[in-house]
C-alpha cells in the first residue's frame, strides 16, 4: 500500500518540517525521489511552490547558496539528486559548511540539510552509483543521518533540524518503496543507534538500504535457527560505538553490510572499534560486506554479483556460527 511506503512517509516528514516553520525552504535541482516517484513528490512541491528555489544544474553553486541562506535565517533542505552529484558540490559540503561554526568561534550557525539519493540504485552504472558517506565522515563538523525505516524518518529529520548542525541526509533510491511500520517514534538523540531486532547469536549492523537487507537476513536466519540482533546506525556521524559494543559484547559475532567500497569505509570504521574500545568482545573475525573495489558496472549480473545482498549477509552470519 502506498500509504506505508518509506518514500511517502519521507515526503510527509519534509512537509511537516516545512509546515512547522516558514523558514524551511527547498533549494536544488532535483527532488526527493527518482523519475518514477515524482507523482508522490509533486503535491509537496505544489504546496510549497513559493518556498522552493529551483536551480540550474549547478550543484556547487546551489549548495553554496544553501550555506549562505542557512547563515541568514533560513533552513534549506537541498535536493542534490543522485549521490554522485554531491561531488560537484564537494567544496561547499566538506570545506565550507562544516568549518564555518568553528571558524567563527561558535558565533555563526549553518543549519542546512543536504539530501541525496546515494548508493547502488540498480543499473546506474559507474557514475550514478556513488556512496559518498564514508568520504563525508572525513569532514569534521558535518553531521550525517541515514534514516532507514519509515518510523524513523520524521523524528530524525526533526532532530537534525533542531540540532542546527550542517547535516547530510544519506537517502537511498531503493528505500522509497520499502514498506514497514510508519508510526513515528520519539525524537531520538542524534548519534544513538537503534536495536531494531533483539537477538543473541550474531550482530548485524546496517544503515540505509543495508539495514533493510540486514532485517531480511535476520528473518531468514531465524528460520535457520540463528538469532540475529540487528542494529540500525541511524547516524554515521556521530557514530554510536557504544550500542555496537554492547551488542557484540553479547553475541561476540559481527556482520556489517555497507555498500561503500571496502577501504576506509563505514564498515572499516565499525570494525576498527574492536581493535580499541571494543577490545576482546569479538569471538570471531568480523565479516565485512562491502561493494568490492570495482567501479559499478552497468550489466545487471555483474552489478548484482557485487552488491551486499541479503543472501550474502545470511551466508556470512552462518559462517560465523560454525
Amino acid at each position: 500500500m502506498a500509504e506505508t511506503m518509506f518514500g511517502v512517509t519521507k515526503i510527509k516528514a519534509v512537509g511537516d518540517l516545512m509546515r512547522r516553520d516558514e523558514n524551511v525552504v527547498i533549494i536544488g535541482g532535483a527532488n526527493f525521489g527518482g523519475l518514477l516517484h515524482s507523482q508522490y513528490i509533486k503535491p509537496l512541491f505544489d504546496e510549497f511552490d513559493d518556498r522552493i528555489l529551483r536551480t540550474p544544474s549547478a550543484e556547487l553553486g546551489f549548495c553554496g547558496l544553501a550555506v549562505g541562506a542557512a547563515i541568514a535565517g533560513l533552513y534549506p533542505i537541498v535536493t542534490i539528486g543522485t549521490g554522485s552529484f554531491a561531488f560537484e558540490a564537494w567544496p561547499q559540503i566538506v570545506n565550507e559548511a562544516p568549518n564555518i561554526t568553528y571558524m567563527s568561534g561558535g558565533k555563526v550557525k549553518v543549519p542546512v540539510m543536504f539530501h541525496a539519493l546515494v548508493g547502488i540504485r540498480i543499473s546506474g552504472a559507474a557514475q550514478h552509483s556513488a556512496r559518498p558517506q564514508a568520504m563525508l565522515m572525513q569532514a569534521a563538523g558535518l553531521q550525517i543521518i541515514a534514516p532507514s525505516r519509515a518510523s524513523d524518518v520524521g523524528p530524525l529529520l526533526q532532530a537534525a533540524r533542531e540540532s542546527e548542525r550542517p547535516t547530510f541526509w544519506i537517502d537511498h533510491a531503493l528505500l522509497f518503496e520499502e514498506t514497514g511500520g510508519v508510526e513515528p517514534g520519539p525524537i531520538p538523540a542524534l548519534g544513538k543507534a537503534a536495536i531494531v531486532r533483539r537477538g543473541k547469536d550474531v550482530t548485524l549492523v546496517g544503515y540505509s538500504i543495508d539495514l533493510v537487507r540486514c532485517l531480511k537476513a535476520a528473518a531468514k536466519l531465524e528460520k535457520a535457527g540463528i538469532d540475529a540482533e540487528v542494529i540500525d546506525l541511524r547516524t554515521l556521524c556521530p557514530l554510536d560505538s557504544d550500542t555496537i559494543c554492547e551488542s557484540v559484547g553479547k553475541t561476540g559475532r559481527l556482520v556489517i553490510a555497507d555498500e561503500c567500497y571496502p577501504a576506509a569505509s563505514v564498515a572499516s570504521e565499525i570494525a576498527s572499534i574492536f581493535t580499541d574500545k571494543g577490545w576482546g568482545l569479538l569471538k570471531k573475525p568480523v565479516k565485512r560486506l562491502n561493494f568490492p573495489a570495482v567501479p559499478v558496472p552497468l550489466s545487471p549480473p555483474l552489478e548484482l554479483h557485487l552488491i551486499p545482498t541479503v543472501d550474502k549477509i545470511v551466508a556470512a552470519a552462518k559462517q560465523l556460527m560454525n
Partner: protein
C-alpha cells in the same frame, strides 16, 4: 539547402540518420519489454546534428559525448549491434556491458568515453585538444553536449582554458529546448535555466568564434563543423557551435509518441491520425523526414532510393537487434576485470 556536402556524403549521412532512428526505436522496444537496464536518453530529433558534425571530422579526431550518446556513436560509424548490446549490458557491447547507455564508447573509433555527469565531459574533451596541440598532431577534439551543460561551472572553466590556449576543440552545444519559452528560470529538464539567453554569448565574450545553426539543416551543420575544424587546425582555437533543435515530443520518456518512423511520410506528408496532436513533428521537426524531403527536392535521391536505403538500414538494424539479443550477459567474474589498465 544541401549544396555543399558532396552527393555521396549526403546519402551516407541520411543513411546514418535513419540508422540512428532505427536504433532508438529498437531501444524503445527493448525498454518496453524491460530489457534495458537503467534509464536512457534517445537521440530522436537530433540526428542531423550528430551526423552533420561527425561526418565533417577526420578519423584521427576525437569525439566525446554525454548521456545522450547513442546517435553520436552511430554517426561515428559504431556498429549498431555492439552499440545496442552495450545498452543492454551484454558481453558483445563495446565495453562488454560495463558502460551501458550512459557511458557509450567506441574506443577504436577515437570515441573513448561518454560522461553521464552533466558538463563533465567538456574539460576532458578540451584536454584531448591540448594533447593534439602539444603532440603537434593535425587532429581536433569534438564534444557534443546539451544546453543544460552550460549551467555547470565545469563548462565555464573548460571553455575559458580552451579559449586562452587556443586549443583545437569543437564545442557543439545541442540546444534541444530551443522551442521552449526562452524566458529563463524554468527549473526543469529541457527548459532554459541560464541567464545567458543567447547561449553563444558566453563563448563570444570569451573571444571564440560562435555559430548558431538550425538542427534540421544537415548541410549547415556539416559546413559549420568543417569550417570550425579547419580553423582549429590552423591554430585559431575553439569554435562554439549551438545547434538548435525542437524537442521531440516523446523525449521525456521512452515511448514512441510519434510512432515508428515511416519514411514515406516525407513525400506523402501524412500525419497518422493517432499522432494528430504532434502534427508539427511530422511536418517540420523530424530531421529524418526533413532531410529526406530535401534530398528529393534537390534531386539527390528519388523515393525509391530512399526506400532502398530504409530497407537496407532496417535490415542492418534487424541483424543488430538479433546480435544484441543473442549476446550473452558477461559472466559474474568479469566484474573484477579492467579496474586497472593491462
Amino acid at each position: 539547402m544541401i549544396p555543399v556536402m558532396p552527393k555521396d556524403d549526403c546519402l551516407e549521412a541520411f543513411r546514418k540518420m535513419l540508422l540512428i532512428r532505427r536504433l532508438e526505436e529498437a531501444c524503445i522496444d527493448a525498454a518496453q519489454e524491460k530489457r534495458v537496464p537503467g534509464h536512457f536518453h534517445v537521440y530522436i530529433g537530433q540526428e542531423a546534428t550528430g551526423v552533420g558534425v561527425i561526418s565533417a571530422l577526420d578519423k584521427g579526431d576525437f569525439i566525446y559525448s554525454t548521456h545522450r550518446n547513442h546517435g553520436h556513436l552511430i554517426a561515428r560509424g559504431a556498429d549498431p549491434g555492439m552499440t545496442l548490446a552495450e545498452i543492454l549490458g551484454k558481453s558483445g557491447g563495446y565495453a562488454g556491458g560495463k558502460a551501458g547507455t550512459l557511458h557509450g564508447c567506441a574506443p577504436d573509433l577515437n570515441f573513448p568515453l561518454s560522461s553521464g555527469i552533466v558538463a563533465s565531459i567538456i574539460p576532458i574533451a578540451a584536454g584531448t585538444a591540448y594533447a593534439m596541440k602539444q603532440r603537434k598532431l593535425p587532429y581536433v577534439s569534438a564534444v557534443l553536449f546539451g544546453e543544460g551543460a552550460m549551467e555547470e561551472g565545469a563548462a565555464y572553466e573548460a571553455l575559458n582554458i580552451a579559449s586562452l590556449w587556443k586549443l583545437p576543440v569543437l564545442f557543439i552545444c545541442e540546444n534541444n529546448s530551443a522551442e521552449v519559452d526562452r524566458k529563463p528560470g524554468g527549473g526543469q529538464y529541457h527548459a532554459p535555466n541560464n541567464s545567458i539567453i543567447e547561449i553563444t554569448d558566453l563563448a563570444r565574450v570569451m573571444g571564440m568564434t560562435t555559430v548558431i545553426i538550425d538542427g534540421l539543416d544537415l548541410d549547415a551543420v556539416w559546413t559549420g563543423a568543417r569550417d570550425a575544424r579547419a580553423r582549429a587546425i590552423r591554430g585559431e582555437g575553439p569554435t562554439f557551435i549551438e545547434v538548435r533543435t525542437d524537442t521531440w515530443p516523446g523525449g521525456q520518456w521512452p515511448t514512441l509518441v510519434t510512432g515508428r518512423t515511416d519514411i514515406r511520410h516525407a513525400w506523402t506528408n501524412e500525419v497518422p491520425s493517432q499522432y494528430a496532436k504532434n502534427a508539427k513533428w511530422f511536418t517540420r521537426n523530424d530531421p529524418v523526414l526533413s532531410v529526406a524531403r530535401k534530398l528529393l527536392m534537390l534531386g539527390i535521391a528519388g523515393k525509391e532510393e530512399l526506400q532502398k536505403i530504409d530497407i537496407s538500414v532496417s535490415h542492418q538494424m534487424a541483424g543488430a537487434v538479433e546480435f544484441a539479443n543473442q549476446s550473452p550477459y558477461p559472466p559474474a567474474e568479469d566484474a573484477y576485470a579492467h579496474v586497472w589498465p593491462t
